[in-house]
Amino acid sequence: MSAEKAKKTVPYTVPIGPVHPALKEPVMFTFGMEGEIVRTVDFAPGQTHRGIEWMGMRRNPVQIVHLTDRICGICGIVHSLSFARAVEQIAEIEVPERADYIRTILHELERIQSHLLWAGVAAHELGFDSLFYLAWRVREQSMDLIENLTGNRVNYGIVQIGGVRRDISDEQRALVEKGLDYYQGLLDQMATLFLKDSTILMRCRGHGILSGDDARLLCTVGPTARASGLNMDVRQDYPYCAYGDLDVKAILPPPETGGPQGDVYDRIIVRLLEVGQSIGIIRQCLGQLPAGEILWEPKMAKLLSVLKKAEGEGIGRVEAPRGECMHYVKMAGKEAPDSWKVKASSYSNLMSWIPMLQGEQLADIPIIVASIDPCLSCTDRVAVTRNGQSDILTKEDLTRLSREKTRRMMQ
């Protein structure tokens, strides 16, 4: 389409956001509309930047590990686990086996609650509020389990550098098993409610399509990538914690439902199947839970002195409910890390909105935007401001700044 023609056929833009009831978290969308059809998509994240990395670089790793709990409101363990793994790599700390298993159990419980939360949100975006309430009622069971195991509902504070802070007692083990039985019994019902419903089928089948090639080109991760047919899962490809001992395979949309088509419906299927997979993983973990210590070094003062001496770089990767989450840490023999970078899973998934939304109707935007389960407060790492105004630096600006710096340094 030529530029002139595009001007005529795309006569108006529809801005949605930064804060809008159709979006769960703040992001600024600009749609180029042709009637009801979305033709062009642009978005600007960076509305929830909180400078958490800046805070981290002024604290020691034992303090940061609890700061990382607060990066995301839903993934309470993903970020702390990822950060702890990076630091453990640098300081060459070996995590006791029992701690690895407890980390895995909580990681999977979190996946259950996150996927059920997403299922509720997706139903709500479709205007199917009775299903939303049902999904969230069912989710409470996993929240109660997490609360019982860790102490709190949302900010668990369970991960410590070199292990976990709380053990699983025999009574708690029985509770977890009871909770798993509850979900096992519900799986079929949830699958029927979500997948056999004509409303959901109408609104989700064939909408928000992301082809496998696009998913690969845009470096999509997690359930979004798997729904497009990419066989990838950090737990399968690069096992960490106890996953090496367990049987974990990436879940793809099964052939019974038409194989991977990469639409919203496939993303529902993948997430629902992953709830079942998580139940299986927790059962395996409970079955082979080894005895022993849960912390590499229970004496905090000693741990702090070891971390103070640590030097080097480390990368912690974990499979968050939304996809791969990565923390890069560089320590240089000081109390605080030299550098700390968080790459949340949604960061990789945001770009997939563009091919998904093109050609869809305005009314499909909420469900398609929600279908990748975006977590923007996890993602936002940078906000450029100049004279108190938000600003965008283009490639040319950055080149200019770089040249100016060279010139400054040469003087």
Partner: protein
């Protein structure tokens, strides 16, 4: 085959009790503040919240006598919520800043810090007496 599978469940729910705990009162009062004032005067009772789990981390409790003023807790507090008072060699904890990680409890050599089960902490004044533990 596609249909309306939620319908039977919805009909069933017409006859089941609500899943949520009615807190602070069983029925919505005309004014929440009026209701709470009534509770304070002893004319009404609060419908109790769900009990907290055994390892719950609520408002911090400080045992001033047991504390030896080693200030280890300051080094591990992620929120800088603990202040060391050099004159008395004791600490002061700002509850509004505390993030309830209980790391100071773990590090304390004398077990002077504990987490209670108290969680209804909201006030309008961040320096209120209830928000500072010393």
């Amino acid at each position: 085959m596609a249909g309306l599978p939620l319908l039977p469940e919805l009909v069933r729910q017409l006859f089941s009790r609500p899943a949520t705990n009615a807190f602070p009162s069983r029925h919505l009062p005309p004014s929440i503040t009026g209701f709470l004032a009534k509770v304070a005067r002893g004319e009404a009772t609060i419908h109790p919240p769900i009990p907290t789990p055994p390892k719950f981390r609520g408002k911090i409790v400080y045992d001033r006598e047991a504390c030896i003023g080693c200030s280890l807790c300051l080094r591990v507090c992620p929120a800088h919520a603990i202040e060391f008072i050099p004159e008395t060699k004791r600490v002061r904890i700002y509850v509004t800043q505390c993030i309830f990680c209980s790391q100071c409890n773990d590090v304390c050599p004398k077990n002077a810090l504990h987490m209670s089960h108290e969680f209804l902490l909201a006030t309008e004044d961040r320096y209120a007496e209830s928000q500072i533990v010393e």
